[in-house]
Amino acid sequence: MIADALVVIEDFIEEPEAAARSLRESPQPLLGAACYLLSALAVFLSHALSGRLYVLGPSIASLTLLALWHLGMGAAMSALAHLIAEGLGGKGRALSLFVLFGLCDLAWSVLLPLTLLGLALLPGFSWLAGVLTVLIGYWVLWLKARSISHNYGIPLAKAWTTLCLPYAAAMLGVLAVFTMAVWGLLRQALQWSS
C-alpha cells in the first residue's frame, strides 16, 4: 500500500497528467488524507521552530487543530472547486481532486528543511520564514490550479478561475460581515448618542 502511494507521489511529480488520469480512475482518499496530515505536521514544526505559532503555541492541541484545518479545508476546497469546474464545463471527479489537492499540499513539507537550514545558517531567520511561507503558498496554489486543469481537462486559465473564486467569495464574505459589524456598531453608537 505504501509502495503504491509512493508510485502515485512520484507520478504526480514527474508525470502529473498521467497521475491525475490514474487517480480519476481509482482515487485513493486515504492517501489524500495522509498527505494533508503530513503537510500540516511540516507546517506546524517549521512554524514552531521559527517562533511563528503566535496564538496557540507549540502544543499537541495546536497540531491537532492545524491538521484538522488542513484536512477540512482540503475537503471543502475540493468540493467547491469541483462545483465551479463542472460549472465551467469541465468533467472530473471530486474525490480524485481531493487526493490531488492533498498531493499539492505535500509541497508544504519543503518548508521544514528550509526552516531548519535557515535556523542553522541565518540568525534572525523568523522574517525569512514568513517569506518562505508565502512563496511556498503560491507554489501550492499553482500546483492546485494545474491539478484542476488535469482533473477536469480545462485550460489553465479556467483552472485558476476555479481555484480563485472560492477565495474571492470568502474574502467578499468576510468583507460583508465586517461591513455589517461596523455598520451595526455605528448605528448603536448613533442610537446611544441621540
Binding site: 509502495a3 503504491d4 509512493l6 508510485v7 507521489i9 512520484e10 507520478d11 511529480i13 514527474e14 503530513l38 505536521l41 511540516a42 514544526l45 517549521s46 514552531a48 521552530l49 521559527s50 517562533g51 511563528r52 505559532l53 496564538v55 496557540l56 503555541g57 507549540p58 502544543s59 492541541a61 495546536s62 513539507s109 521544514l112 528543511p113 526552516t115 531548519l116 535556523l119 540568525p123 534572525g124 531567520f125 523568523s126 448603536q188
Partner: protein
C-alpha cells in the same frame, strides 16, 4: 558480415531493450525519507530547546512547552488576573471555576512539583474567593506540592485572601496588597427613578426579602442585619489570614481595617515572606519542592484560553450591552458580599 549477424562488439538487443529503469516509487521513497529526517530533526530541536529563554530566538521562546513536557520536574505557573467572580455564562469557561480547574489539572500532573500563583487582582465575590482558597488548601494537603504566591501590581482583599492560602508569599516592593475586609455595595437610585416616572412596587413574602433594593433607602434594621453578615465574613477573612500566615488573630486584626500596604511595608508586618519578582518566586517554589538546578517552567494552555477569554468578554458586550453600560453606573454591578478593594 551478412545482414542479421551481430557485430562481435555490439551488445545483443541493444536497440530493442530500453536501459534498465529504477523501480517506480524509489525517488518518492527518497523524498519521503528526507521528509522523515527533517521531521525527526525538527522534533529533536523542539524537544531539546531550553525552556523559556526570554532573550533567545523564536525557536527557544516557543519551544518551552514541549521541552517542559519532557522534563521530569517543573514548576507550573497559574496566572490569576482581574476580579475574582464565578464564571458568567459565556462561550468559554472563565473566572474562578476556570482557574480552579487549571490548578487541579496542573496539580494532577506528575512532572509538576510546585505551583506558583501569579496574582494580580483586587479581589472579588466572597464565594468565589473562598472556593479557590479552599481548593488551594486541599491541593497542598493532598498532593504535598508547595504553592507559592507571587503578587503583581495589586493583590488586595480577595487577591490577598488567596495568597494567604499558599505556603509562601513573594511580593514586589511596590505591590499594593492588604485591604483585608468585606464590602457590600448598595446604591439608592430612588431619586433618579422618580425623575423618569418609575416607581418600584415589590410584593414580598417578608420585610427583608428585598434587602439592598436600590429603589428605596435602607432601613436601620436592614443595615444592622447586613452589618452582622459583613462582620461574620470579616471574621472568616481574618481567620483565614491568621491560619495561612500562622499569626495570632489579635495580630492580624489591627492590620485588617481595610487599609492597603506596599509590599515593602507588608514584609515588615509579616504579611509577605520576601520581596522579589516572578523569577525569584519560581526559584523559591523549586527550592521548596527540592528541584535541583535551574527550574523549568510550565505555563499550560494560557495563550489559547486568554485569547478566547478576551474574545468572550468582547462578545459579552454584544450579548447584553445594557448590563455592561449600566454596570458602569455602579448600581447594577455585582450584588453581594465582596472581598474586594473598592476604589
Amino acid at each position: 558480415m551478412s545482414e542479421g549477424e551481430l557485430d562481435p562488439g555490439q551488445a545483443p538487443f541493444s536497440e530493442a531493450a530500453p536501459p534498465p529503469k529504477a523501480p517506480r516509487g524509489r525517488k518518492a521513497a527518497v523524498l519521503a525519507g528526507l521528509y522523515g529526517l527533517s521531521v525527526l530533526a525538527g522534533l529533536l530541536l523542539l524537544w531539546r530547546a531550553p525552556a523559556r529563554k526570554e532573550n533567545g530566538s523564536g525557536l527557544l521562546k516557543t519551544a518551552g512547552l514541549l521541552s517542559a513536557a519532557r522534563d521530569k520536574e517543573v514548576v507550573a505557573v497559574v496566572t490569576i488576573s482581574g476580579p475574582i467572580y464565578a464564571a458568567e455564562s459565556g462561550l468559554v469557561p472563565r473566572g474562578a471555576q476556570a482557574w480552579g480547574r487549571r490548578l487541579e489539572k496542573l496539580a494532577e500532573k506528575k512532572e509538576v512539583k510546585a505551583i506558583v500563583l501569579d496574582i494580580n487582582s483586587p479581589g472579588g465575590s466572597v464565594g468565589s474567593v473562598q472556593e479557590l482558597y479552599s481548593q488551594i488548601g486541599r491541593l497542598r494537603r493532598e498532593t504535598k506540592k508547595p504553592v507559592v504566591a507571587h503578587l503583581g501590581d495589586v493583590a488586595a482583599s480577595g487577591g490577598y485572601y488567596l495568597a494567604a492560602a499558599c505556603d509562601r508569599i513573594v511580593s514586589l516592593p511596590g505591590t499594593l496588597l492588604g485591604s483585608i475586609g468585606v464590602i457590600f455595595n448598595s446604591s439608592n437610585v430612588e431619586g433618579l427613578l422618580s425623575k423618569v416616572g418609575v416607581r418600584m412596587e415589590p410584593i414580598k413574602s417578608g420585610k427583608m426579602k428585598d434587602i439592598g433594593s436600590m429603589s428605596r433607602p435602607m432601613t436601620s434594621e436592614e443595615k444592622a442585619l447586613l452589618q452582622a453578615l459583613i462582620d461574620n465574613a470579616y471574621g472568616q477573612f481574618v481567620g483565614a489570614v491568621a491560619a495561612g500566615r500562622k499569626m495570632p488573630e489579635e495580630k492580624v486584626r489591627p492590620l485588617a481595617d481595610g487599609r492597603i500596604f506596599t509590599g515593602d511595608q507588608a514584609l515588615g508586618l509579616g504579611l509577605v515572606d520576601q520581596l522579589g519578582d516572578l523569577q525569584d518566586t519560581i526559584v523559591l517554589a523549586a527550592k521548596l519542592a527540592e528541584i535541583k538546578g535551574k527550574p523549568k517552567v510550565l505555563r499550560e494552555g494560557e495563550s489559547l484560553s486568554s485569547v478566547l477569554e478576551l474574545l468572550d468578554s468582547r462578545l459579552s458586550w454584544l450579548r447584553a450591552p445594557e448590563a455592561s453600560l449600566l454596570g458602569g453606573l455602579g448600581g447594577f454591578s455585582y450584588r453581594g458580599l465582596e472581598y474586594r478593594w473598592d476604589r
